[in-house]
Symmetry: C2
Subunit: 257 residues, 2 copies
């Protein structure tokens, strides 16, 4: 393991760039859980950064044993903390190549389309919920917040590694590749209640921007617009909550028990 | 309307104290929507702070007209921004007395107990979801994050004003006042599936701490422990998402359409 003391070191400078979202091809995985999940799905990362004071922690030792020593860097605590995006880092970070899933040719199992979603915490929660609901493909429109930022990764709690996350998608392209209907979340006129009838076993769910909802062009192109019957005590549901209620109602209806 | 230019002014110092959570009896309501909701439910607040550059905005003018001029303070932008907890404030804030609901004597309509919930964003989302599900009473254990902090208020989007929020509650006290069963969210052994049978029309739902779940003493005292059947692709659901799925499944079963 190489020891690094200077902030001018290339590994440190690259780490800072990745942490700040200025590296479009790499991601930063912070903490034991995310590093473990990465290893399980993708194997050893590009580099492993270790906090000097954490080098003897059992979780860190175990993760180091699973990686090639030539790609491990021991960073003085101040350097490690300067890269970390959390206040109390867990002593280990991976710098890895951002996964790019294979382009979609046909889509026939329930998937989720996110239209211009803005809040990283919301996006992370939605990814976590989608994985828990058994969804495999999540598609993000242009204008969505980046799916691999440290904040989204943290909030998704490892769900990234159970999903295929397709960023910068164009709705008409995907629409033409679907072997299932499009169901869009909407509070507008013409929407039917989520609880008014049977849901298809597979569909593309569309959930929209936190303030504006789903884009009118997508609503017009959806097979059904669906609303969640709620009290009028508040104007609307949080986007992640709405996605959860939709996905789990479908799961309830079609789950094999 | 009084004009304020100095950061030593009492109103400014009080505003900063409230914004920082160091005033236990007052709360800060930021932005047009929260101020409007406060007015509708509680009437004029203790004081109204206006950002000098926003004094002619239609929303602000309308809110000012609904309040006593003697309690209105025009703050130089820098002073206003120093109090605000958001980066781009909307030009108006209320300082108001924290509402304390009447103590619970009996409880017979669906309510939500939050056990040591830690994240302000989660708490706000849960309050918003509870209000949307038609819940009136939300009870918070000791050890929950404060319910009236600016971050919780922001994330709840006005739900505070549709709810009775009871903080610092003691579970055995409330348990003795229930005319309905306790249903606790749990992934442990003995829990039954949310989808395995009928839910009661009214119950006290218990949702637990983000990391540890519901306290074992409450689980042991619950009438039923309930789990949400999920894929094993992720370990668990976000606490706010879990609360949403529970509350809306009950709403689905018992909703009057």
């Amino acid at each position: 393991m190489k020891q690094i003391q200077s902030k001018d070191n290339l590994v440190v400078r690259q780490g800072m760039k990745v942490a700040a979202g200025r590296d479009k091809t790499r991601i930063l995985l912070e903490g034991v859980h995310l590093c473990e999940e990465w290893l399980k799905r993708y194997g050893p990362p590009e580099s492993v950064l270790v906090q000097a004071s954490a080098v003897d922690q059992p979780d860190v030792v175990r993760l180091l044993a699973a990686n090639d020593a030539a790609r491990q860097y021991l960073l003085a605590d101040a350097l490690f903390n300067a890269i970390a995006t959390v206040q109390t880092p867990q002593g280990i970070m991976f710098v890895a190549t951002r996964p790019i899933p294979a382009a979609i040719t046909r889509l026939a199992t329930t998937a989720l389309w996110l239209d211009r979603l803005q809040d990283p915490g919301n996006l992370g929660t939605i990814l976590r919920t989608a994985a828990a609901a058994g969804v495999r493909d999540v598609l993000l429109s242009a204008g969505c917040v980046g799916a691999w930022s440290p904040k989204v990764l943290r909030s998704a709690q490892g769900a990234h590694f159970a999903l295929e996350i397709h960023e910068h998608q164009h709705f008409p392209d995907i629409r033409a590749r679907l072997d299932m209907p499009v169901l869009a979340s909407s509070l507008g006129p013409g929407a039917r209640s989520l609880y008014a009838g049977a849901l298809p076993a597979a569909c593309l769910w569309v959930v929209g921007n936190e303030g504006q909802g789903v884009h009118p062009a997508i609503l017009a192109d959806a097979d059904q617009c669906i609303f969640i019957p709620q009290s009028d005590a508040v104007e609307s549901l949080n986007a992640a909550v709405a996605a959860a209620i939709l996905l789990f109602e479908q799961r309830r209806q079609h789950m094999q028990v």
